[in-house]
């Protein structure tokens, strides 16, 4: 039986592998740019799935609005800092990894 609550649980559980993938990428990838890529993308998608699941389980509309606001803020902050780190690394002549 599919209710809104179970759908939320499904979304939350689906968000967990993205976080684990982000951490594995941070640990295993060879240079700064690939690590930035793994960290910023995978974690934000995982957070988006968790927020989707929590919004499906939320009590009122105000909580849903706050959750979505948190996600937008995390997206802005993490993309801005990722861009800054990558540009600064390029300016410091740190070359991307080639095979």
């Amino acid at each position: 039986m599919i209710t809104l609550d179970n759908l939320g649980i499904l979304c939350i559980v689906m968000g967990l592998p993205f976080f684990l993938t982000g951490t594995v990428g941070l640990l295993r990838f060879p240079d700064i740019y690939t690590r930035l890529h793994a960290l910023t993308k995978a974690d934000n998608v995982g957070l988006g799935l968790i927020i989707l699941g929590l919004s499906l389980q939320a009590d009122n509309l105000f909580t849903v609005a706050k959750l979505i606001l948190i996600w937008i803020l995390v997206l802005i902050a993490s993309s801005a800092s990722c861009h800054l780190v990558a540009r600064s690394a390029m300016q410091k002549n740190i070359h991307p990894w080639v095979k």
Binding site: F19, T23, D43, Q57, I70, V74
Partner: protein, 91 residues
């Protein structure tokens, strides 16, 4: 109290503890700082899950503060503290 949400938060906490290895063994300063950024994102997720799991809706405000201030440390790092090995090409 919800069993599922707290165990999901526990899994993300284990992922944070694994990300600490990158802080300890990062070759450049930027790697260490990126791991701190991972702590910020995962901390927001843990706070959201605990807000549902422990039935305290106040934690959403703390997650908002986290989301705003986790980027501040990275920006300060890039603007003011990153000056190692400038001009040295690195493979």
């Amino acid at each position: 109290m919800s069993y599922l949400h707290i165990s999901c938060a526990l899994i993300i906490l284990c992922s944070i503890a694994a990300g600490m290895i990158r802080i300890l063994s990062g070759p450049t300063a930027a790697d260490r700082m990126m791991a701190a950024q991972l702590f910020g994102t995962c901390g927001v997720a843990i706070l959201l899950l605990l807000a549902k799991g422990m039935d305290t809706i106040v934690l959403l405000d703390i997650a908002l503060v986290f989301a705003l201030l986790a980027a501040l440390a990275t920006i300060t790092f890039v603007r003011r503290a990153w000056h190692e090995q400038s001009g040295v090409p690195r493979r």
